[in-house]
């Protein structure tokens, strides 16, 4: 039998979860106290899982590398969170959210998981409101919604441009309550550097106290990796500087399969790269596409005049603008999914229509909606029959400010330009990784007792994630899925006593971690960690980014192998092991990124089709759209590591019983 059993329950799609949930064995409260759960990560997935498991009575330990749980990368999410509440009465339903997500993922996600996600989505909003999360509201006091890409309904809940922050602070408050009650022990500034397997089950972790540099051993009956995504393999991405793959990668090296590593989301609306010094890229939330229209000039001479600084975007008359998303995709317009929007921008820029000096930028323009949509609305409300242009602009500005104020401020801070006056310039950037640790319906990896939640797993978004669905998935996993599914495993573990950490497996794993740290210091090379990271990132972006092809991927694989070799000969890690040492932390992470980069390219090379965020130039329609090959590639590619640089592919077939698969069309 294949090593991959997805454990999707039998029965009709809309009853699978409800039925299954009620059959999972329970663990009685007295036993729960003796069951220890390690949660690595304090983002939305980790904090929500830890708080809920502790409320249920389990003993929980939480780890994060930041100085506080509240600083996990989820804090940076801007635009919103989806839920099938149908508060706007626009025809939304659980089925529609399910359908949109499967279609948005280009038919490469599991039906069972996605339906469950849609089912629990409503409860997430209820839970967050009960915690005091201050979502945006209408004047009547009810919750407000907006639209995100790939949908035709308004199902996105938000808190200005700080939705992730407010949701995370909500989950963090739940976590804090459990910390205060003594049910959770928090280990901030701790980095997990390996998992410990005993008799085929995951039984704990090795973590490094980042302040003292000491290695620690921690036992758990189960270990949950909620460690986020690996977009930083590209060096430049919208992820936080510390986001990394280490936790998932260490699990992978100890036997956990890594699924669909090549599925990367390139987000269409980010602030363009301005120079070599750049350390990260900044997202301008997708919510802006509700009111911002994307365009480039129709005429090359206008492009040249703009690049030379002789004209501004606002000087180009309406008829000379190419609103290419509205032109190519009239049904969804500016709200097509991210992969489609990003590729369309690349197509225009490659054709020479990019509007900044580097030729890699397009406009995101609010002027017309600001004035004629919102300005008019406000004027009408105020009873002004014939508002002047200046009044319209002024009124519109107020509305736009309330909706997107912090994003506009952020843009101005970074670029020095005022987006209320001139159109924003944007370009696609690496943003999210759909791939991750392979998990079954219980969110368990193929190693017993080891789970993966949130962005760290691969399960719900197929080949492309829809906007506002990552927050939903993280909280679904943590609040509403794992608290049930973990019972299937832990109910069998009530007889297992806590394993003392002086056991051989702990000692051996710790020694291996120590050896690697010593190796870093022993190299005493000439190049900084960043030097290697930047080189890796450039290769990944150029050959395994928005467009990929066989030749480029083969070249990249060879090149990354060379980087790996050089890294282990010539990297310089200053300072000592037993102290606060951010360079050592980076070295650990980049060493793993290099190995991951190779696997991503191999996965992309293996997948001889285009789907979602994975666009192989050899496989496209005449109109330049992604061309899937359902006959040969309708599977999850789960990779098992044999040794560094050598993997075996396992396939999990995807079965569609409720949705008819078709070519994705947003026209």
């Amino acid at each position: 039998m294949s090593k991959l059993d997805s454990k999707i329950p039998e029965g009709p799609i809309d009853q699978k979860w409800t039925k299954y949930k009620s059959t999972i064995p329970l663990v009685n409260p007295a036993n729960k106290r003796h069951l220890e759960v390690i949660v690595v990560g304090s983002g939305l997935a980790g904090s929500s899982a830890a708080a809920t498991l502790a409320e249920m009575g389990y003993s929980v330990k939480v780890f994060c590398f930041q100085d506080s749980a509240r600083r996990a990368h989820s804090i940076a999410a801007q635009g919103g969170i989806n839920a099938a509440k149908n508060y706007q009465n626009d025809g939304d339903s659980v089925y529609r959210l399910f359908y949109d997500t499967i279609k948005g993922g280009d038919y490469r996600a599991r039906e069972g998981n996605v339906h469950r996600l849609a089912e629990v989505s409503g409860s997430i909003i209820d839970q967050c409101v009960a915690q005091g999360v201050p979502f945006a509201r209408e004047y009547g006091g009810l919750l407000s919604n907006r639209s995100f890409g790939g949908t035709q309904v308004q199902r996105t809940f938000y808190a200005a441009g700080q939705t992730g922050q407010q949701l995370l602070l909500g989950a963090y408050s739940g976590l804090n309550r459990q910390i205060g009650l003594g049910n959770v022990k928090m280990y901030a500034r701790h980095e997990m550097l390996d998992i410990v397997n005993i008799d085929g089950k995951c039984r704990g972790i090795i973590a490094r106290d980042l302040v003292t540099g000491k290695l620690e051993r921690h036992f758990g009956h189960a270990v949950l990796l909620c460690t986020g995504g690996y977009g930083n393999v590209f060096y430049l991405s919208t992820n936080a500087m510390g986001s990394n793959v280490t936790a998932a990668w260490k699990a992978h090296k100890r036997g956990a399969m890594f699924a669909n590593p090549c599925y990367t989301q390139i987000h269409p609306t980010c602030i363009p790269v301005s120079g070599d010094h750049q350390s990260k890229l900044t997202l301008m939330s997708e919510s802006l596409r509700n009111d911002g229209r994307i365009w480039v000039p129709k005429k090359k001479e206008d492009v040249e005049a703009i690049r030379a600084g002789k004209k501004k975007g606002s000087d180009i008359p309406e008829e000379d603008r190419d609103y290419y998303l509205e032109r190519r995709y009239p049904a969804f317009g500016n709200l097509v999914p991210r992969d489609v929007a990003s590729r369309a921008s690349k197509e225009r820029c490659d054709a020479g229509y990019g509007v900044n000096k580097t030729g890699e930028a397009v406009y995101l323009d609010f002027a017309s909606n600001m004035k004629y949509k919102y300005g008019k609305q406000v004027a009408t409300l105020k009873g002004i029959a014939n508002p002047t242009e200046a009044q319209l602009t002024e009124f519109g500005k107020e509305v736009v400010k309330e909706k997107y104020g912090n994003l506009f401020d952020m843009y101005k801070q970074i670029t020095g330009e005022d987006p209320y006056e001139i159109p924003m310039m944007i370009y696609p950037a690496v943003h999210y990784t759909m791939g991750g640790l392979w998990v079954d319906y219980n969110l368990m990896t193929n190693i017993e007792g080891l789970y993966a939640l949130g962005e760290a797993n691969f399960s719900d978004h197929g080949a492309n994630r829809l906007g506002a669905s990552a927050l939903m998935q993280g909280l679904a996993d943590g609040y509403f899925v794992i608290p049930y599914t973990i019972g299937a495993y832990l109910s069998k573990e009530i007889g297992t006593k806590a394993i003392p950490t002086d056991k051989e497996e702990f000692a051996k794993t710790e020694q291996e971690v120590q050896d690697r740290i010593n190796k870093f210091f022993a190299i005493k090379g000439t190049k900084s960690v960043d030097y290697f990271h930047k080189r890796l990132g450039k290769i990944m972006w150029e050959k395994c980014g928005m467009a990929r092809n066989k030749e480029g991927l083969e070249w990249a694989i060879a090149e990354i192998q060379k980087i790996r070799e050089e890294f282990w000969k010539d990297v310089r890690v200053p300072g000592e092991a037993n102290e606060f040492n951010p360079e050592l932390e980076k070295a650990n992470r980049v060493a793993d990124f290099i190995e991951l980069g190779e696997l991503m390219c191999k996965d992309a090379l293996n997948r001889n089709e285009s789907c979602g965020g994975h666009f192989r130039e050899e496989f496209q329609t005449e109109e330049g759209e992604a061309m899937r090959d359902d006959e040969n590639y309708k599977y999850v590619a789960a990779w098992e590591m044999k040794e560094v640089g050598n993997w075996e592919l396992h396939k999990e077939d995807l079965i569609y019983e409720n949705i008819k698969i078709a070519q994705r069309s947003y026209k």
Binding site: I125, D126, V129, H277, S279, K280, P574
Partner: protein, 248 residues
């Protein structure tokens, strides 16, 4: 542009620490302040010296990690931004820039510019929550909340927990930070039932952590990157007084 940096170097909490001078050369005005530090660190590493340690993560003003005291002001010369959002175009060629960590007894230095702010987490754990378990919450729209209350609550909830308010205050008071959390909940019906215990528990923990008292100078709010209003302190004081009356 070329700059001179005077940076606080301190090996660990017990070390005495001192200023060291560094040159930052060929700095582009488009760089962020932290990217300028990256350039300096890159050079130190290649020269075989120890790079300067500092906290940072999101680099877009939301995680609250970055925390540099620049030329006598937390997060530097501009209002309403964090250190990571400060760009070099705010400085001039030839400038001398003095960079220190947050200074407060409740925020011990870990190394160089990185400090220990876990006292903030302990204050939150004392009462910064609504006691509601997961599951069984009522439908979200069953609890309408006037838009103004929701907006005001949100404005207080925008605090990123960076600690600049404490660093700015001559008494190292954490009233703005604590007031922001108390205010977020005080304005919402969900927060009402526990209002009394919450404010007492959080203020007690704040005192126990060694933060100073508030003498209403307003430096905290002036330096707060999220421009949290001083009114949150007034609201917390009101809540605290009435809670004390209740408690007695």
């Amino acid at each position: 542009m070329n700059l001179t940096l005077k940076v606080w170097r301190q090996k660990n909490t017990n070390d005495k620490g001192k200023f060291e001078t560094y040159k930052a050369e060929n700095i582009s005005p488009d760089m962020s302040f932290l990217e300028m530090f990256d350039v300096v660190n890159e050079r130190l590493i290649v020269e075989g010296k120890e790079p300067i340690a500092f906290d940072h993560d999101c680099r877009e003003g939301i995680c609250g990690s970055c925390s540099m005291y620049i030329n006598g002001r937390p997060h530097g010369p501009n209002n309403g931004v964090t250190t990571c959002q400060l760009h070099m175009r705010s400085f001039k060629d030839g400038d001398i820039i003095v960079v220190e960590p947050w200074r407060s007894a409740a925020f011990p230095v870990i190394k160089d510019l990185a400090v220990d702010r876990s006292s903030f987490d302990r204050i939150q754990a004392a009462g910064g929550f609504v006691s509601v378990n997961t599951g069984n919450a009522q439908d979200a729209n069953n609890l309408p909340i006037p838009k103004n209350d929701a907006d005001e609550s949100f404005a207080a909830a925008a605090c990123i927990g960076c600690g600049a308010c404490v660093a700015a205050c001559k008494n190292s008071s954490a009233m703005l930070f604590v007031g922001a959390k108390v205010t977020q909940f005080a304005l919402l019906p969900q927060g009402k039932p526990e209002a009394t215990q919450r404010v007492l528990a959080m203020v007690n923990q704040m005192d126990a952590e060694g933060f100073g008292s508030c003498t209403n100078t307003g430096a905290c709010s002036a330096e707060c990157p999220k421009e949290i209003s001083l009114s949150v302190i007034a609201r917390m004081n009101r809540e605290y007084l009435s809670a004390q009356l209740f408690a007695e």
